[in-house]
């Protein structure tokens, strides 16, 4: 029952960490247990999702140890627990088709449980065992370390991953955001099970934790189970997630030869910090800009299958422009011309009105599953310090004015850090870096 290789036209990317409460669900609530905030969203269905969030992400380790947090989280389910060896643990999960696992990203790690409600009592002990008493068996650890290296190489084979990595390492060089959560071959190779276990114990503290439950479980059951879990977790030192702006001082361009069948271009610009007053307006502005970018680059000029623009709203927030094209010089002329036009003429009242309508559809559309709702509650709590933003977003967005929309676009979309992978002979770097907007290059045959 597998469908592969379907070709789609691209949806305009809306990378916004928002959620909305669904129509048939009871209201969410929170409680504090043993110093840890526990957010509960009743689901109205038979699926149980629980996410344990560990704050910090790339702030938790030096670049030389990149990958350690992901390897540690993978080891929780792949290297056995004090109760079960790896095979016994995984076989028990298979028995009830439960999904237990996690990963670590730029701003936080998430370790998730997804099961059918009737299986919850069987799965919960496995979940808590993995978190609180992982075995870090050396033989299994060697296996997952080799897998991590293989996966890293496989990921580098993907051109989208490759351009993404180049863009981040160029724009955020010397800062936390230049670190790769998946690590490097060198950093992963050097890791030992003892060191990785010690690292896990250092970050798995109540001071870094948030727990999100999206399920129809009664409050007393949640309280009792979470209390038992947290009784095994140390308090830890207080932790506050750092936020840092990115503002490039000038346009820049970095190229890399890569044997792609087409050329990959990515631009990174500034963006407002989570929790700042500009955040919602900029989210809307980038979403409207994405539509214009699509229309201009794809519909009007036929320059790309996948022109995209979006806002990455993490602890180091930034705006993205992305394209694959056989004509990178034409693309930059069109894209920069479009940015100039928006800055000069602004967005329209109609665009803002329509965006607000579409935004609501998007909220519901993106949050139809328990997993998505849990992720939204978690990211709003970690990044904005306010999980309720997840369900109040409609009111917040309704307040955004046209003046705010135009003001934030002008404020944050200025200098851009451009990176390029493909055939360097096809691109003129000065068109990306020069202060004035370049003119459209002379017509030439595309193929």
């Amino acid at each position: 029952m597998k469908k592969i290789f379907q070709y789609t036209i691209c949806l305009v990317a809306l990378a916004l960490p928002f959620a909305g409460s669904a129509q048939k669900q009871a209201s969410p609530y929170d409680m504090t247990i043993n110093g840890v905030k526990v957010i509960v969203q009743p689901s109205g269905n038979d699926i149980v999702v629980i996410q344990t969030i560990i704050k910090g992400g790339v702030q938790n380790y030096p670049a030389s140890k990149a990958g350690i947090e992901n390897l540690a989280i993978n080891a929780l389910t792949e290297c056995g627990t004090m109760t079960d060896d790896k095979n016994s643990f995984k076989d028990k999960l298979d028995k009830v088709s439960a999904q237990v696992g996690g990963s670590s990203g730029m701003d936080f790690a998430s370790f998730s449980l997804n099961c059918i409600k009737s299986d919850f009592d069987e799965v919960w002990p496995l979940y808590t065992d993995a978190l609180t008493s992982p075995r870090f068996d050396p033989k299994e650890f060697d296996r997952i370390k080799q897998d991590a290296i293989n996966n890293l190489r496989a990921s580098e084979s993907s051109p989208d991953n490759a351009i993404n990595k180049l863009a981040k390492q160029t724009a955020f060089a010397g800062t936390n955001y230049a670190k790769e959560p998946q690590g490097t071959v060198a950093s992963i190779t050097a890791l030992t099970p003892a060191e990785t276990k010690k690292y896990w114990q250092s970050i798995f503290t109540r001071s870094r934790m948030v727990i999100v439950v999206v399920a129809d479980l009664d409050k007393a059951t949640i309280e009792q189970k979470v209390k038992a879990l947290l009784s095994k977790v140390p308090a830890g030192a207080p932790f506050v997630e750092q936020k840092k702006s990115y503002t490039p001082a000038a346009n820049s361009f970095k190229e890399e030869q890569r044997a792609n069948a087409t050329n990959y271009v990515r631009g990174i610009a500034s963006g407002p910090l989570p929790g700042s007053p500009d955040y919602n307006a900029f989210s809307l502005a980038m979403s409207i800009f994405a539509s214009r970018h699509f229309l201009e680059v794809r519909s009007k000029h036929g320059l790309s299958y996948a022109p995209q623009a979006w806002f990455s709203g993490g602890t180091t927030p930034y705006a993205n422009l992305s394209v694959t094209t056989t004509e990178p010089d034409k693309y930059i002329a069109v894209a920069r011309g479009l940015i100039d036009k928006v800055k000069k003429e602004g967005f329209t009242a109609d665009e803002l009105k329509n965006e607000k309508t579409g935004f609501l559809t998007g909220i519901y559309y993106r949050n139809e599953t328990n997993e998505a709702q849990a992720a939204s509650l978690a990211s709003n709590e970690v990044l904005h310090g306010n999980w309720k933003r997840s369900i109040q977003i409609k009111e917040d967005v309704d307040k955004v004015t046209l003046q705010q929309l135009n003001s934030v676009f002008n404020k944050y979309i200025n200098n851009i850090t451009w990176v390029y992978q493909g055939d360097p002979k096809k691109v003129t770097p000065t068109m990306y870096t020069q202060k004035e907007t370049p003119k459209m290059p002379a017509e030439k045959k595309a193929f």
Binding site: Q6, I9, A22, K24, N114, N260, A261, S299, Y305, T361
Partner: protein, 460 residues
């Protein structure tokens, strides 16, 4: 959602009575809260009532795609799908088209596969009528201008080039050419660069006049809607869409694939493959001729995904591969059985030998236990519950099965999976896999290939 077998429940009866001029066709079996009608023009309509969120999704699926394409049309079902979003009589250019989607707050997309082309919009539940009219204009009254096509051809070709930049795609397409031979175009929806870049409005009209008729389409409405009202709206808007008067798949029959003649191995060197990928493909069953085989394939693939399976223990647990999956792609016209693996480069030779060793034992009486068989079925049952969690995705699941099997197949799917026996699985394996010719391919970078002397052991 529990699958239920019934011909017509009470709610459906009410819905059917409200749409009085709908001809009485035999009802397919459908799950609870799914309602079906067939208009006089042959358009099948399913309404899936689901009030989880206040949205509605409408989707039209057409039995079109790679399987209808000979070499001269390779990739044009996909280009046609793109042109759907370009211009029509109500919205004569893409700017106006997109503006309308923005006014309706619409999320929209389309896909082209081997046996289906589908178009889907999701919007606020109160915009159902406007959404249906928008769909009607796009599917029935498209405008193909030479200048629009000139702009869209590089877009579609750009999608192709993105895919070609990925080593997995390069491996898949090279294997595919050998598995399907002269008829490879019928399993390759992305198509051929030259055909895409020379496509004309006339060729678009040929596709439209062959396949884009109500009697070759399924319209599905999913979400916070009332079935009776939804059927009435569909009838009012799509009721005058004229039937072709012929069955496109009888008039333009799909040729049968020739079996793979002999087992073939190849190594493809590519600088973008940072680590090797390996693929083995057999020609498997299809839903027209061996539906039991298709079900056995799904159960067997799930057994092999179990951590405790001999397959996972031999390959992943022992560190010969980071990933080793076996899958079957359901199809009406010969579905492929595929092994895809990311082997550990340091153990590539052992990996290659072990894959063959395992395949040779697939049909052994003790290759999997009764407990594993039951666990696999339980996993499929639970996955089915999960797959029904997202309302906006229900339409696409249904249209996939309508195109590649039938509505009855979908409705009975879970019940029939539960009835699959060990003998069914062994029959499937003996008929399609054990001692049958296959194609095996590896993509690897040149340095690694030489260093590991891959050609010395990855061969027939």
């Amino acid at each position: 959602m529990q699958v239920q077998i019934f011909s017509m429940n009470k709610k459906l009866l009410v819905a059917a009575m409200l749409a009085t001029s709908v001809t009485a066709f035999s009802q397919p079996r459908l799950p609870d809260n799914y309602y079906w009608q067939k208009l006089d023009n042959g358009l099948e309509v399913v309404v899936i009532e689901n009030h989880k969120v206040p949205l509605a999704t409408i989707e039209i699926a057409v039995k079109n795609g790679a399987y209808t394409e000979g070499p001269e049309y390779s990739g044009l079902s996909h280009l046609f799908e793109h042109m759907f979003f370009k211009a029509n009589k109500d919205y004569p250019d893409q700017e106006k088209f997109i503006k309308r989607t923005e006014e309706l707050g619409m999320i929209w997309n389309g896909t082209t596969g081997d046996e289906r082309v589908n178009y889907f919009f999701t919007f606020d539940k109160d915009s159902l009528n406007a959404g249906l009219k928008f769909m009607n204009a796009a599917i029935r009254f498209p405008i193909y201008r030479t200048e629009d096509m000139q702009k869209e051809r590089p877009v579609v070709d750009g999608e192709f080039q993105r895919a070609e930049s990925d080593p997995y795609f390069q491996l898949w397409i090279t294997v595919g050419k050998k598995v399907w031979g002269d008829l490879f175009t019928r399993k390759n929806p992305i198509g051929d660069h030259d055909i895409i870049n020379s496509a004309t409005p006339e060729k678009m009209m040929v596709i439209k006049d062959k396949y884009y008729f109500p009697n070759n389409s399924l319209l599905v409405i999913t979400g916070d809607v009332k079935p009776a009202e939804a059927f009435a709206k569909v009838k009012a808007i799509f009721g005058d869409w004229a039937s072709s008067g012929f069955n496109p798949h009888e008039k333009y029959p799909i040729p049968e694939f020739k079996p793979i003649e002999k087992t073939e191995y190849f190594v493809k060197e590519s600088p973008i493959a940072q680590t090797p990928y390996v693929m083995y493909v057999w020609q498997g069953p299809d839903t027209r001729r061996d539906s039991v085989g298709t079900l056995a394939a799904d159960v067997f693939s799930t057994v092999l995904g179990l951590n405790s399976s001999k397959w996972q223990q031999a390959l992943v647990d022992k560190g010969l591969a980071s990933y080793a999956g076996v899958s079957y792609q359901s199809a009406a016209h010969v579905g492929p059985v595929q092994i895809l693996a990311v082997p550990n480069p340091g153990k590539l030779k052992e990996f290659t030998a072990e894959v063959l060793n395992q395949v040779n034992h697939f049909a052994d009486a003790d290759y999997f236990t009764d407990e594993q068989l039951q666990t696999a079925k339980d996993i499929l049952r639970r996955n089915f519950i999960r797959s029904n969690e997202k309302p906006s995705a229900l339409s696409s699941t249904l249209t996939f099965w309508w195109c590649s099997a039938s509505l009855d197949y979908y409705t009975d799917y879970m019940k029939n999976l539960m009835n699959v026996t060990r003998a069914d699985i062994q029959n499937y394996l003996k008929k399609y896999v054990i001692d049958k010719p296959y194609v095996a391919g590896m993509i690897i970078n040149e340095d690694m290939s030489k260093q590991l002397k891959v050609n010395e052991f990855f061969k027939n």
